[in-house]
């Protein structure tokens, strides 16, 4: 959702069966070559990525989910309030593609058109063992209004494009919604939290107006 400065916070949830490589996909995307040591648990299942697309800031919060079937029922807890969903399947495993179809149905039912869908066929590096035909996947994606991408976490293929494209679609979608409810500046998320009284002051002061003179020491300068 956009904040006052015209930047967006989007929640993107990753769904798909356990073995399809959701986690490696997203880890590859936010891969931080300046920080190879510390991938904590949190960083592996919750990732932040800042983008700036044509001057518009996009802050992606990418939520990985547990893929085991027995946790299927917990899906709604994770995907509620999400702006985008990436449904990952393994191109060598047809079952995982069926699973994606189930997820699409469920998301459509629960979130309607508010969520932008992307279907990712992962493990493209194993294309010689392909069991899900590109055409079929593409056709299916078109039929549900989703975009289809072929990715490889191993070779780092197609991942960045996928996320940028999804971000653009989420921005467009958001703009449409905003247009539709032009009267209200509140997005979906805002309207759901109307019962919160947040003291929102008007603080649109140029950020370079740095504060002069500090007193009494004791600054908590952040350190690692």
């Amino acid at each position: 959702m956009s904040n006052s400065q015209g930047s967006y916070n989007f929640k993107v949830v990753l769904l798909g069966e356990g073995c399809v490589g959701k986690t490696s996909l997203v880890l590859r995307y936010v891969e931080d070559k300046f920080n190879d040591k510390h991938i904590t648990t949190l960083q592996a299942s919750f990732l932040n990525k800042k983008l700036n697309i044509n001057g518009k800031r996009v802050n992606l919060s990418i939520w990985d989910t547990a893929g085991q079937e027995r946790f299927h029922a917990l899906g709604p807890i994770y995907y509620r309030m999400s702006n985008g969903a990436i449904l990952v399947y393994d191109i060598t495993d047809e079952d995982t593609f069926k699973k994606v179809k189930n997820w699409v149905k469920e998301l459509k039912k629960m979130l309607g058109s508010e969520v932008c869908l992307t279907i990712a066929g992962n493990k493209e590096d194993l294309s010689k063992d392909r069991n899900v035909s590109i055409e079929e996947a593409q056709r299916y994606a078109d039929s549900v209004g989703a975009k289809h991408f072929l990715t490889s976490a191993k070779l780092n293929q197609g991942i960045e494009e996928m996320f940028v494209e999804l971000s653009q679609r989420m921005m467009e979608h958001h703009a449409e919604v905003e247009l539709a409810q032009a009267q209200s500046t509140l997005g979906r998320a805002g309207s759901m939290r109307r019962n919160v009284m947040v003291v929102e002051d008007d603080m649109m002061v140029p950020p370079d107006n740095s504060v002069k003179g500090a007193c009494c020491g004791g600054y908590r300068v952040a350190s690692s």
């Binding site: 991938i39 648990t41 027995r70 003291v199 350190s223």
Partner: protein, 927 residues
């Protein structure tokens, strides 16, 4: 370092200047893939930037050196590692380093892409005059951080003091807010938050700084919110817990019932096993944090504990812990952290994050909360309950959640098929096979296996073996023979490596038909496994009421202790099985088996402690009703009220405490107490006990259940008086008077004085089964005509003339009474004594002999405490009585309600002759 710092680089002065004044350089940098660093807003001194300032922030990747090495445009070596940029200096001074705050990837219209790193302070030292020209990057992670922030950033202690006042006023004004619905609590706390934030922002310095720095503003909001949580936490958590009490109790019930779940059951990655203790320790502390911030930090620490790299392990990418590994782990931790109000804590975190604006719905904190919520939700769904393998049910779960969509392509097998299908990979002769079929309730197969164990081996030796000749002893034949002899088909007594018998398994999985079958085949009801648990313990802890009652009715000890000192009542109270708690209490009440509701386990906890801790309101109230004492302290000196976190339960307890203190117990309570004291009376006291005819309670409980011959109650007060007179006459041995009241002729005369000629009997004096009732009918008719009393009449306590006569050893009267058709097996109401019991208690050998000689007297009837005549005889230590009873065939090893056999009583009394007699009786019986 985790600061969540964010700023819009498009508004960053440095970046604007760079884009504006060095366009060519910028284009070259983006084309070449150079890294652009931008000092965060406010970190730059406010003079015009020189070219060198810009150059020092452009990093060129090196071709030869590793990825992390760069050279800046002003010819300095730069290294980046762990989000820290280090700039080597030209001279010998120390390298200079600063943090990377975030990385932003830019995509432009013309399909250019470049990366910008926002750094905490300028890379060029010359750009940095003072140590800190502004507030720096503050991150608030703990309550202490928040207080520090509010203290140091404001112009004095005023802000905190004013907030303290506001909180105090709030607490004063909102006395009892914890009783309100959640939304109202939230609204009121939220109003307090607004007030406190106003106080904070009224402070001049704070206002100035936050105006300049949005990041600081967000931190101030969090700090205010956290300070406020801390101030009102004690009523906050109380109120929320009251609102979520029922959900929490339901969750606790599930958690308690899956508490023996193992990591592998949940599919937790095995290399994470050793992180569990630490992670559990962290998560269990969540209730000690009084603020939402602290609780979120607690989850974070838990995750950190899970992902802690073990020494000597390569933290390569293959080993990171992804969501797939995280969720099962969280589920396990939620179950094991033994917190009693998970949902309350979760609700606090979800509901009282006032500072989280709409944009924060997607942030890290909400991800953490969601992770916990998902784990709790998974436990709550109950999928983990049921069959020992949690996996066995997941298909059911998915079919339930997707049930409405029939065109789903998953093939959903119906639940029944999965649940009732026994594993087929087991050796049919193994005990595991038997137990598996018991688990799924496959009665036929269980019967077959048990029958096999008895019959098969012998039969096979006889006929089925193809020996060379019947007596052959060649190697081959011997081999065949030994194979048959070594068949180990499990029997009803076999136990597995945990000491489980078939009855344990059947009770554990609540298969009443199988429990019934096993009991019918005389399985030992009180057998215990290695943890000291009997089948009754498992039935109680899993809430299998039917199995429990079957066991109880076949004489299982209802208050035996396992190794932790828990009686079945503890287990069902702690696991929230209200049905079982009631079953035990009612069983004890109606059958008269003693059950101590205040029994303590090895920790000194009573059942009430357990029920209060886990918030089962219904169980608490029923236990209190049955006389549970709310004042008992466990070994940590805590009463049940200390454990009651939920308002409903603590109210019940405090009411009980105060009513106890006032000495006014509820009528039922009073009744229980009397019953209890009565059952506390040792058997020895029975000798002294005089018949107290005024005692009139519990009169109705027995007649139905006891015997085939209920005594006859007098119809009116006139008769009642006559009955009393009759009994008194018998007690003193006035035979004639007794005969008068009963309308009998005196001793020595023939009893059938009335006209019985029209009654068809075997012969005139016959007292066989067929004839006897007829004489009685006739007699009863004639007796009433003559306004006399029936021979089986009883007083209010159920004592018949025969009881009194037997107790007083009036052999003559007894003979008369028996001849006149007195029932020898009639019981008293209150304690269920038969005349034989009384004769034994009072050591009336002659009376006992008369009774046994009637041929109708059942020697093995047990009174309400489970004592048979032999128990009473052994207790009195009368060898002659014992000899008589044993000779007449009384069963020597019946157990009473305390689990004692007659021989135990005798051993206690050291009556050697009795012990010897009992042994003889036992062996002779076996032969």
């Amino acid at each position: 370092m985790e600061t969540n710092y964010d700023e819009d680089l498009n508004e960053n002065v440095f970046f604007q200047m760079f884009l504006g004044e060095h366009k060519e350089l910028f284009q070259k940098a983006t084309a070449e893939g150079w890294v652009i660093c931008v000092p965060r807003a406010g970190s730059l001194p406010k003079y015009a930037l020189t070219d060198n300032d810009i150059y020092s922030h452009i990093l060129i990747p090196s071709d030869e050196l590793p990825e992390s090495h760069f050279r800046s445009l002003n010819e300095r070596d730069v290294r980046i590692c762990n989000r820290v940029i280090t700039v080597e200096q030209d001279d010998i001074s120390r390298p200079y380093s600063t943090h990377i705050l975030f990385e932003e990837t830019f995509y432009t219209d013309d399909y250019m892409k470049y990366k910008v790193l926002c750094v905490e302070s300028p890379l060029d030292q010359q750009c940095e005059p003072g140590q800190a020209s502004d507030v720096g990057i503050v991150s608030v992670n703990t309550l202490q951080d928040c207080i520090d922030l509010l203290w140091t950033e404001s112009s004095g202690k005023d802000v905190l003091e004013q907030m303290d006042d506001a909180i105090t006023n709030f607490l004063k004004d909102n006395d009892g807010v914890e009783l309100e619905p959640l939304q109202k609590q939230r609204d009121q706390s939220s109003a307090l938050y607004s007030r406190c934030l106003q106080i904070a922002l009224r402070d001049t310095r704070l206002r100035e700084k936050t105006t300049a720095n949005k990041h600081l503003l967000q931190n101030v909001k969090v700090a205010v919110e956290t300070y406020l949580h801390h101030g009102i936490y004690h009523i906050l958590i109380k109120g929320v817990t009251a609102c979520t009490a029922y959900e929490d109790a339901a969750l606790n019930k599930i958690i308690r019932n899956v508490s023996d779940l193992q990591l592998r059951d949940l599919g937790v990655r095995s290399d994470l096993y050793d992180t569990v203790p630490k992670a559990k320790q962290e998560l269990a502390r969540i209730d000690r944090y009084s603020t939402v911030l602290g609780k979120i930090g607690c989850i974070k620490k838990t995750l950190a504990a899970i992902s802690r790299t073990r020494p000597g392990e390569d933290p390569s990418k293959g080993n990171i812990i992804a969501a797939d590994d995280l969720l099962p782990m969280m589920v396990f931790l939620v179950i094991k952290a033994s917190l009693a109000n998970w949902i309350a804590h979760l609700t606090v975190m979800k509901t009282f994050r006032f500072s989280a604006s709409a944009s924060c719905q997607t942030d890290e904190a909400s991800f953490l909360i969601t992770s916990l919520e998902a784990a709790i939700e998974h436990v709550k769904s109950g999928v983990l309950l049921g069959p020992s393998e949690p996996e066995a049910q997941w298909v059911y779960e998915s079919s339930k959640s997707e049930g409405s969509d029939d065109d789903y392509e998953i093939i959903n097998t119906p639940m029944e098929n999965i649940k009732l299908e026994a594993r087929s990979d087991l050796d049919p002769s193994s005990i595991a096979y038997l137990f598996e079929h018991i688990r799924v309730g496959n009665l036929d197969e269980v019967v077959r296996v048990l029958d096999n164990g008895i019959k098969q081996p012998k039969r096979e030796i006889d006929s089925n073996l193809a020996l060379c000749h019947p007596l052959c002893s060649c190697d081959q034949c011997e081999g065949l023979l030994s194979k048959v002899l070594c068949v180990t088909t499990p029997t009803i007594h076999s136990c597995d490596d945990r000491g489980f018998t078939a009855l344990h398994v059947a009770s554990l999985y609540g298969q009443p038909q199988i429990v019934d079958l096993l009991l019918a085949r005389e399985a030992d009801v009180n057998v215990s496994d290695y943890s000291g648990s009997t089948p009754m313990h498992y039935a109680a802890s899993r809430g299998h009421q039917n199995a429990l009652l079957l066991l109880a009715h076949s004489g299982a000890e209802i208050q035996c202790r396992d190794n932790e000192g828990n009686a079945p009542l503890h287990l069902c109270a702690g696991n929230g099985h209200e049905g079982c708690v009631k079953a035990l209490l009612y069983f004890s009440e109606h059958v008269g088996v003693r059950l101590d509701v205040n029994a303590c386990n090895t920790n000194g906890d009573t059942a009430l402690h357990h029920a209060a801790r886990w918030g089962y309101e219904g169980i608490v109230s029923i236990l209190l009703e049955y006389g549970a004492n709310p004042n008992i302290e466990n070994k940590r000196k805590l009463t049940p009220s200390h454990y009651a976190h939920n308002l409903h339960v603590s109210r019940l307890l405090s009411n009980a405490v105060s009513s106890r203190a006032a000495g006014k117990s509820s009528p039922l309570d009073l009744l229980k107490k009397t019953t209890k004291t009565q059952s506390d009376v040792s058997i020895a006291a029975i000798h002294k006990e005089k018949l107290d005819f005024s005692d009139d309670h519990e009169t109705c409980s027995l007649n139905g259940s006891v015997g085939e011959h209920p005594s006859i109650r007098p119809h009116n007060s006139e008769q009642i008086k006559r009955v009393e007179k009759l009994l008194r006459a018998i007690a003193v041995g006035d035979t004639r008077l007794a005969c008068y009241y009963l309308g009998l002729d005196g001793p020595g005369e023939s009893p059938q004085c009335t006209d019985v000629s029209n009654v068809v009997m075997c012969h005139p004096l016959c007292i066989c089964e067929n004839c006897r009732p007829k004489t009685i009918d006739v007699k009863a008719g004639s007796v009433t005509e003559r306004a006399t009393l029936n021979v089986n009449v009883s007083n209010s306590e159920g004592f018949t003339p025969l009881h009194i006569a037997a107790m007083n050893g009036q052999s003559d009267v007894m003979r008369l009474l028996l001849d006149a058709g007195a029932y020898p097996n009639v019981r008293t109401r209150q304690k269920g004594y038969t005349p034989l019991h009384l004769a034994c208690q009072h050591q009336r050998v002659a009376a006992a002999r008369i009774l046994t000689q009637t041929g109708e007297c059942n020697l093995n009837l047990q009174d309400l405490r489970g004592n048979s005549a032999l128990h009473h005889a052994c207790f009195s230590g009368n060898a002659k009585l014992v000899e008589l009873l044993v000779k007449e065939g009384a069963i020597v090893d019946l157990r009473n309600a305390e689990g004692k056999r007659p021989v135990d009583d005798a051993e206690e009394k050291m009556s050697l002759s009795v012990i010897r007699l009992l042994k003889i009786g036992k062996t002779s019986k076996k032969v």
